[in-house]
């Protein structure tokens, strides 16, 4: 039996999925910008701003549904989770934007700074993986992927600690590189964090349990 709230929930869901796809796109583009020196920073900026306004739109729509329909149980958890996930996706977009001109702003290049013993490439791959898995999990509402996301995050975390240590022990010659690399791994780690928040919201949406990955 379809209910009044279903239309609203569908709209919210489609907005969120669009955001998810855009987030993935933004991150991939930002990686290319920073590592390959692609001159697409403006595009990344626009994507990021779109993500922020999308999350605001989702928040507004969600609030409207709360006010009008007094939803309970799974509906309530869905709306609550969507609001959080939208915020987390927007944060990821914001970090992606920073990442896109991280080397550019200091007038250095990725190639100069990316020393072979820094796991930057691996981290980027894992971040791509974690974001992709997140979006997939949201689309399919797949609880199984939540654990996987936790695993990937732990990997990224390890690599982050490793990077910090290496930057202290065997830093690149240019100070600018040290700063840029540091910021880079920091942002990557933060994106991964937000990805786990998204996974936790998903778990709450589906099972009602609040977990900490």
């Amino acid at each position: 039996m379809s209910r009044l709230i279903d239309t609203g929930l569908k709209k919210l869901s489609s907005l969120l999925l669009k955001m998810g796809d855009l987030t993935e796109k933004t991150i991939l583009l930002s990686f290319d910008c920073s590592t390959k020196g692609l001159d697409q920073f403006d595009k990344v900026r626009v994507y990021s701003e779109t993500l922020i306004s999308s999350s605001e739109e989702i928040e507004e729509k969600a609030t409207e549904l709360l006010a009008r329909y007094q939803p309970v149980a799974s509906d309530l958890r869905t709306i609550r989770s969507y609001m959080k996930i939208a915020y987390d996706l927007a944060r990821c977009g914001r970090y992606a934007w920073d990442i896109s001109f991280i080397y550019r702003r200091f007038n250095i290049s990725y190639d100069e700074c990316a020393l072979p013993w820094l796991p930057l490439k691996d981290m980027m791959n894992e971040v791509e993986r974690i974001i992709h898995t997140c979006i997939d999990a949201i689309r399919k509402r797949d609880l199984g992927l939540v654990e996987k996301i936790g695993e990937i995050e732990r990997k990224i975390d390890k690599m982050y600690i490793e990077s910090l240590n290496k930057l202290v022990e065997q830093p690149p010659i240019k100070t600018k590189c040290v700063v840029a690399d540091l910021l880079f791994v920091r942002h990557l780690e933060r994106i991964a964090d937000h990805a786990t928040y998204i996974a936790e919201s998903l778990e709450y949406l589906i099972t009602g349990q609040r977990i900490n990955l």
């Binding site: 709230i5 007094q70 939803p71 309970v72 149980a73 799974s74 309530l76």
Partner: protein
């Protein structure tokens, strides 16, 4: 087990009820906490009114009605052989869907009815009880200058509060409310809901409602009845945030009923 039973105000064990040969309640087991509001929700015909009437032994007044099982009020089975139903009803107050003050009695007499009809004559005592009850029912200020006014001349919301005062006057162990706000407008409803929460500081309240939002607003515990069975019973916040049973989830999100 004996010790456990004492900590709940009402303990329902394997309650079954019939109207002639139609079974309306099926093996209900429930524990009602003291000094809390418990809401019973469910679609029409699920047996929630019958349930509440079994608790004060009013169900058996209908010709052809039958009950089996036990209900312990403060540890004593009200359906035990030899128990006087009239005495049980004196311990339990009931408020009905449509406010039903005695039409030929004044406000004062209505509130005092329970006591007067049971033989209390001491004027001072009656005055005291009437005042306390009207205050607890939040009706005192509106009638204190005019006790002799007929009970039926009050507004709907006031009449319902009068009925609540009447129920409180006999100092019940338990207060049962059968959809008390169905016949009232939203602001009268809001007043009664607030009153229910205040009453729960001193009394155990069980309210039957078909309005889920009301159950969510007003109660500490909620029981979901469907086709005569208790499907789920839990703290209200748990039921409305994350119900365990799919049927409960479908009902409270409006997917049926």
């Amino acid at each position: 087990m004996e010790g456990d039973m004492m900590s709940f105000k009402v303990q329902v064990e394997s309650l079954n009820a019939w109207f002639r040969d139609r079974q309306v309640l099926k093996k209900i087991n429930m524990q009602i906490n003291e000094k809390a509001v418990t809401a019973i929700i469910g679609p029409s015909g699920c047996g929630k009114t019958t349930f509440i009437r079994c608790v004060n032994r009013m169900h058996e007044l209908v010709p052809g009605a039958r009950v089996s099982g036990k209900i312990f009020l403060d540890g004593e089975d009200i359906y035990a052989k030899g128990t006087d139903a009239v005495k049980i009803r004196r311990k339990i107050g009931m408020v009905f869907q449509k406010p039903n003050p005695f039409p030929t009695m004044s406000v004062y007499d209505n509130v005092a009815a329970g006591l007067k009809l049971n033989g209390v004559k001491d004027r001072k005592r009656l005055d005291g009880v009437v005042k306390e009850s009207l205050k607890s029912a939040e009706l005192w200020d509106e009638v204190k200058n005019d006790f002799d006014k007929s009970g039926a001349s009050l507004s709907g919301g006031q009449q319902q509060r009068l009925c609540i005062a009447r129920a409180l006057a006999v100092e019940p162990e338990l207060i049962l409310m059968d959809e008390p706000c169905s016949a009232l407008d939203p602001s009268a409803t809001a007043r009664i809901e607030r009153l229910m929460r205040n009453l729960s500081k001193d009394y155990t309240v069980v309210v039957v409602t078909h309005n889920m939002q009301q159950a969510a607003r007003v109660s500490d515990y909620t029981g979901f009845l469907y086709l005569g069975q208790l499907i789920e019973f839990a703290q209200t916040r748990a039921i409305f945030e994350n119900p365990r049973n799919k049927l409960t989830e479908n009902y409270i999100t409006g997917r049926f009923g």
